[in-house]
């Protein structure tokens, strides 16, 4: 049977990854399915519940999610030789999952906005009243990680979210919606994942992306193998491939920050060392997820 990949990468990116892998491993054929993380997870969980998970490899949003699967015993441990080139915080010590790239969340603003924000705190200024939008953690995995990350930072924390709410910020939909809202001028500022505004700006959209001074949160799109995989060997090859320099170059070409050390950064990004990535502990974050979601909903008035 073909190797089955479940991924939340955008379409073209998923295709490019798979093409690259198949070029490197002509003997393995890959079928892939992409969708937003919640949907992919719903699909996977339903399959598991039905006793017949179809996927072999996962390449999805964030480490928290994979941590959850690991704790449920659904993942296969594999120590990839490529791990050596990665920062230890970017993969699971037991080899259950490996981060593949860094998708950071920063600030996007419309070029017609009243001022140019430099830090997260700027969004609570009076000039930004009613002009801020962000993705909702309830729909976007990245947004959840982002909230959990910022909540853990001294000087920001949940109070920052409360201030934002008091300043008329709204939490709506996913990253795409935020981008549209800012690009169309409906809102002036937004929290959004980096590659979207950078790509759109290149196409001419009136938006700019800022890496705030306090630092950015990152989701790392980890890769992991399902314990139930019947293609474990091919799956391991796939993991090795995405972690390899070649695989990482693919991500770079697509406009993402590769997770592997010593890689260049894509066009339109500032130098790697100017980007401060705020850390997050996956196991910790997982434990607090429910509570954090409640806190967030509490602030943003939901229910």
């Amino acid at each position: 049977a073909n190797l089955v990949l479940y991924t939340s990468q955008p379409n073209e990116d998923a295709q490019a990854t798979v093409d690259g892998f198949m070029a490197a491993n002509p003997d393995v054929k890959v079928d892939w399915v992409r969708d937003g993380t919640p949907k992919i997870m719903a699909k996977l969980q339903a399959e598991i519940e039905a006793g017949n998970p179809v996927a072999d490899v996962l390449l999805i949003a964030d480490t928290v999610t994979l941590e959850r699967l690991k704790e449920a015993g659904k993942l296969l441990a594999y120590k990839s030789p490529e791990a050596a080139s990665y920062d230890a915080s970017l993969y699971d010590a037991d080899g259950y999952y490996y981060s593949t790239k860094l998708i950071t969340t920063g600030i996007v603003y419309n070029t017609s906005a009243a001022f140019k924000p430099a830090s997260w705190k700027d969004l609570t200024k009076a000039e930004a009243k009613g002009l801020v939008t962000m993705p909702s953690p309830l729909t976007s995995g990245a947004a959840l990680i982002h909230a959990q990350t910022l909540a853990g930072v001294d000087g920001l924390g949940w109070d920052f979210y409360k201030d934002l709410a008091a300043n008329g910020a709204i939490a709506a939909g996913g990253n795409g919606a935020v981008l549209k809202s800012v690009a169309s001028g409906e809102k002036a500022f937004g929290m959004v994942v980096d590659y979207m505004p950078i790509r759109e700006k290149a196409k001419g959209a009136p938006v700019e992306f800022v890496f705030p001074t306090e630092g950015v949160s990152a989701v790392t799109e980890p890769v992991g193998i399902l314990a139930s995989s019947k293609n474990a060997d091919a799956a391991k090859k796939f993991v090795d491939y995405v972690l390899s320099e070649k695989g990482q170059e693919g991500f770079l070409k697509l406009g993402y920050i590769p997770a592997r050390n010593d890689m260049k950064l894509p066009e339109g990004f500032p130098a790697r060392d100017t980007i401060k990535v705020l850390p997050i502990n996956a196991a910790e974050a997982l434990k607090n997820t429910d509570q954090d979601l409640k806190t967030f909903s509490g602030i943003y008035g939901s229910n």
Binding site: D13, V33, A46, G130, T139, L179, A183, E186, K201, D290
Partner: protein
């Protein structure tokens, strides 16, 4: 004794059991499987905490209120169009009717966004009029009213199609008798036409209501910013944070939706009970009202509504497809057709998606038709508990968000089928079966209401002519309910063509549908490609509708909903 039937039954004995079996397979089985998973999950504890969660009750409240308001709005729009375009001498009926079913083809999120922009600070329309609100003004559509309004707009064509079929079979002489009694056009309308078309109106209201309870796209865009969660959006958030309890939560929330829709069904039953809508004797041509001077009011109304429902979102889509990036103003300089080029010639997924969606939706629509007609025959005059159970079982899948149906089907079909040892999961067939399950209700509604209006003597005459059950079904019943059957096929086709949430979970390589393709493009930031594909889908549907127009002469009268 051989060949005898039990009294009081004009149908063969196998009919109801057969319908029952189909419903068991399509609805009960997947829902029961979900319920089992849910109960298993809740057995580990937590049922109480879900029930005690205020989020559940506020979502239930919002679901109800938005669905009720949305249904009312869709009834207002859909009924006025059906009446104006079917019963009056308003000009441009065919074109308006044609245009009116198209908004169903525009993804609700596109309509929502188009409207958000139209009414927001960056609205080109408002800017041109210099009445655009300043940046940062709260968007009025992010509210219960906004959700309801969009529900109304999105579902008005459903009401239109369901009602129109009934209007076609109004008895002309009944209308004439009322006019001769001295009733003005308005009174005739209120006293005769409205009550006689009640089955159609109620069918429309029911489809609309059920669609509202299960809608995810609109409250996701308009509700979440205002922290308004409906049950479907709440279900979605449960899926996004997957825990061991998720299935339990989802099953509970789904049960809530099911309860609401069953309550809706009961209300519908109640409204139809004790009345008789059988058109006695010949039902002549549809009654024509002379609008007189009212047409100066009616005509602008029709076209203004069409502008907001169809033109505005469609041009927003078109503009989105013609500019290279979001937020770039559309001018002759920035305009480019590269998105169309990309979609048509570079993206291989486009063609697969077109083929998949068209064959899936046409297949579902056509396969459902015979099932629907058999089910309508079996259910129309049946008033017992079993009949009601079957009706509810048909209704519930459509009322649930697509993601729930999809999960239920994965639960049933992910493992190879017992005994047969074939795996349906991962093939296009699972989407097909899920479509059958989900859209059964849509298909059934207009047909049942048409059955309510049939003069039983027409079938009796056929029986006495010696026509067996199938014979008279084909020769008499189906042509008589042709307008409703046509509406049913077209409804299912249009809805399925645009469907996203079911196939989003059930697709796999090679089985993408158009909805999935558009969503994936949009989700990955290629909103120009997504818009271009949406425009192409609308164009495709328009050309298929035009093709039908060519076939119109060979089809029974009234089948095509925009022809009179």
């Amino acid at each position: 004794m051989n060949g005898y039937v039990r009294p009081g039954n004009s149908q063969p004995g196998w009919l109801f059991p057969a319908v029952f079996a189909v419903v068991l397979l399509l609805s009960v089985l997947p829902l029961a499987r979900l319920a089992i998973a849910g109960i298993a999950a809740l057995a580990r504890g937590g049922a109480m905490s879900v029930l005690a969660d205020p989020a559940l009750w506020s979502a239930t409240y919002y679901t109800l209120i938005t669905a009720v308001l949305g249904t009312i709005i869709s009834l207002l729009i859909g009924c006025s169009f059906a009446f104006l375009l079917t019963l009056t001498n308003i000009s441009g009926k065919a074109v308006a009717g044609f245009c009116f079913v198209l908004p169903m083809m525009i993804p609700p999120q596109v309509t929502a966004l188009a409207w958000v922009q139209m009414s927001g600070p960056s609205s080109p329309l408002l800017k041109a009029l210099h009445i655009a609100p300043p940046l940062g003004t709260p968007q009025p559509l992010y509210s219960v009213g906004g959700i309801a309004l969009l529900y109304g707009v999105q579902h008005a064509p459903l009401v239109y199609l369901a009602l129109r079929a009934g209007l076609m079979s109004l008895p002309r002489d009944g209308v004439e008798a009322a006019r001769l009694s001295g009733a003005s056009s308005l009174r005739v309308f209120l006293d005769i036409i409205l009550p006689l078309s009640l089955p159609g109106i109620i069918a429309g209201a029911a489809i609309s209501f059920v669609s509202c309870t299960g809608n995810f796209g609109i409250p996701a865009i308009l509700g979440i910013p205002a922290s308004i969660y409906t049950l479907p959006t709440l279900i979605f958030t449960k899926f996004s944070a997957f825990t061991s309890r998720t299935f339990g939560d989802v099953a509970l929330l789904s049960a809530m939706i099911a309860l609401i829709s069953v309550a809706g069904l009961a209300a519908q039953d109640r409204a139809l009970r004790g009345r008789d809508y059988r058109v006695l004797g010949l039902s002549g041509a549809a009654a024509a009202f002379d609008l007189g001077n009212w047409r100066f009011l009616a005509l602008p109304f029709v076209w203004v509504v069409l502008f907001f429902m169809l033109a505005a979102p469609f041009f927003a889509l078109l503009a989105g497809a013609l500019v290279p990036a979001y937020g770039v103003p559309l001018t002759f300089k920035t305009m480019s057709f590269s998105a169309f080029y990309e979609i048509l010639f570079r993206q291989t997924v486009t063609r697969t998606a077109f083929v998949n969606s068209i064959s899936l939706s046409a297949g579902a629509a056509l396969c459902l038709l015979p099932v629907t007609i058999l089910a309508a025959t079996a259910l129309t005059r049946r008033r017992d508990l079993l009949g009601r159970f079957v009706s509810s079982a048909i209704e519930i899948p459509y009322s649930l968000p697509g993601i729930v149906i999809a999960v239920s089907f994965i639960l049933v079909f992910a493992a190879p089928l017992p005994f047969l040892h074939v795996t349906v999961y991962g093939t296009i067939w699972i989407i097909f079966i899920a479509y059958l399950s989900s859209f059964f209700a849509v298909s059934l509604k207009p047909v049942v209401s048409a059955f309510h209006q049939l003069d039983p003597a027409l079938e009796e005459a056929a029986r006495l002519s010696g026509a067996g059950f199938f014979r008279r079904l084909f020769d008499i019943i189906v042509p008589l309910v042709a307008p409703a059957a046509g509406a049913s096929v077209i409804l299912v086709f249009l809805i399925a063509c645009n469907e996203l949430t079911i196939s989003a979970l059930l697709w796999s390589a090679g089985t993408q549908t158009l909805g999935v393709a558009i969503y994936n493009l949009d989700d990955s930031g290629s909103s120009d490609l997504a818009s271009a594909l949406s425009v192409l889908v609308v164009a495709m549907v328009v050309s298929m509708m035009l093709l039908l127009e060519l076939l119109a002469k060979r089809l029974p009268a009234g089948v095509i909903p925009w022809r009179s």
